[in-house]
Amino acid sequence: MDEQRIGVYVCNCGTNIAKVVDCDAVVEASASLPGVVVARPYKYMCSNPGQEMIVADITEHDLNRVVVAACSPRMHEPTFRKALQKAGVNPYFLEMANIREQCSWVHHDPVEATDKAKALTRAAALRVARHEPLERRSVDMCPNTLVIGGGIAGMSAALDLADAGGKVYIVERNDHLGGNVARVDLTAPYLDSASDMLTGRVTRVVEHGNIDVLLESEVKSLEGFVGNFHGGIRSKLHDGGVVDQEVDIGSVIVATGYKEFDAGRITHYGYGKLPNVITSFELEKMLRTGRVETKEGGAPQYVAIIHCVGSRNLEFHTYCSRVCCMTALKYAHEIKAAVPGCYVSDVYIDMHAFGKGHEDFYRRSSEVKTLFLMYEKNDYPVVRRAESKDDCEMLIEVNEKLSGETIEIPADLVVLMVGMEAREDSEEVARLVNISCDKDGWFIESHPKLDPVATTTDGIFIAGACQYPKDIPDSVAQARAAAGRILARIARGQLEIDAVFAEVDEDRCSGCRICNDLCPYSAIEYDEEKGRSHVISALCKACGACVAACPSSAITARHFTDAQIFAQIEGVLA
């Protein structure tokens, strides 16, 4: 082994790390570790000057190994690997110590956090000394894309990809395209027709030569890796049978959208019991026919709209569904247009008008004489049937927050602004494409701010409301961003994939074949003639199951070798 010349870089991350961890003490402790030639702190290692510092040190001090003690490697490992590459050092001669997510952000005590940071940095330095240079593999990028979900997000992504020349398969569970937007009448804040907007898109998608629309279909399997996936799709036939097909794709966009909250779960609104308590989607249906009426067929004189149904409370969903406030304001305009002289009241918690044109829309809605009543979170209004002496069908009791009084308002029609929630089978979809869901069932993005389109599985992207409640413009923006990311890769034709995979030392292999059945990707082949097993590196995904199971220790996990992990264990315990 060449002489070890290690550089250790300890990031302050502004004050994110430095306010708890004594970074200078970590630097000092690292400087005396075996092989360490230079150790420095810096305000932001990931910034350009930070990376240039590493590059300059590599040249000046002839470094051949680098430790960066900073954030999670899941965040900036690629950044620093690139810096090493730029300086002419193999990118795998990097190891990161996670002293932000695992120290400064989770421990208050500076002494304990600093001790732990020293231990993690020491482990990284001992580990990196045992790193080996690895060559990345280049694979072809298949230009076809699978889009799961034919709503506004899925269609928008598909059109961009198909216009650029790529083949796109849209798999839609329903018998029509359009998703939830197809259930909406007008859109806030400009009161444009959703169906006008959608019809143009649907026509373009259906007529596009590069797009295969598979309705009443589901993705049943997905195998392979970025650039080289194989999907299995099952479609229903009109005669009741099914047909299966296999497609080769390079990327997947998951755009499965949301479902609305089941209003029946909240008892005090009387949904399902009082006939004229309806959901926002049921009102949309009426608005699309142009008639707003009660179940009895009469024109309602009083309409009350209750916000945050299923959203922003501790009992159901704590998050804000983001589109309901503006949708509710839209109803005031639409209801008054359909039933002139009708009184509309909005019973709300806060009015969230964050988007472009939304605040102006809020002002215009106040001007059309909508009555606004504010209620406290978790102190729900109560809807009850009115008595015969009242001139309305129902009464709503609200503890009105601004006046501090309990107010009763009349209603002939109550509209519940049902929030968005993740689809029941989002966990199943996540498992199918190998991504994760958060506690509410929304798909998790690669990074909440810097990479909200990608996921933890390379080649799988998310778009639209399956990630989190979104309005139409945000869904379309994310979808087109996903398409852009994929097109950048298609344009290059090839992509580099991680050099991490398992290898069999044939001299040590006893040919017992235990590993053969263990591999989930059938990446281990047995050579009958030699009586030895070997790994097909292109199929290996580097889980390391075979490595731990091999009774002869004949299998090595590149970049996760026993020697490297042993060094790390020694490092954290020294």
């Binding site: 390391g544 264990i569 315990l573």
Partner: protein, 144 residues
């Protein structure tokens, strides 16, 4: 002074390590006693890693992987699950208390769960005192 145990944590990259990162981004405070080592999958965790950690002075070892059915490599966590009882039998034979070595499932969204597990395990191992292996090794060193 109360005894502060050192625990080595082996976390799979896809679920548990990400879950621990989430504890960080959510600023969930937990005991500083666990030192995390990242592996791609819990199936990579060779029983020798656990033995090495214990002989090198760890008072406990925490292994975390994806929940059953959620493994990034489809079934690596089941492999760990099956290996674990064998490892526990071996450790029991050496006189290592049950609670020192623990296998838990932590998903990418379970930052709170990860913090709770670390706190609970730290408390239990603290109550047990230093690892008998560590004590025996220290005794051997003193004899020499």
């Amino acid at each position: 002074m109360t005894f502060e145990p050192t625990i080595v944590g082996f976390l799979c990259n896809w679920c548990s390590y990400t879950g621990a990162d989430l504890a960080g981004t959510s600023r969930i405070q937990y005991a500083p006693n666990v030192r995390i080592i990242r592996v791609m999958c819990s199936a990579r965790i060779d029983p020798t890693f656990v033995l090495k950690a214990l002989t090198d002075g760890a008072d406990g070892v925490l292994i975390c992987g994806c929940h059953p059915g959620d493994c990034h490599y489809s079934e690596g966590n089941y492999k760990m699950m099956r290996r674990f009882p064998l490892l526990k039998t071996l450790l029991a034979d050496y006189g290592i208390e049950e609670e020192r070595v623990r296998l838990e499932w932590v998903s990418a969204s379970e930052g709170q769960r990860f913090a709770d597990i670390v706190n609970d395990m730290t408390e239990r191992v603290r109550a047990l005192g230093p690892s008998p292996i560590k004590m025996a090794l220290a005794h051997d060193m003193a004899e020499r």
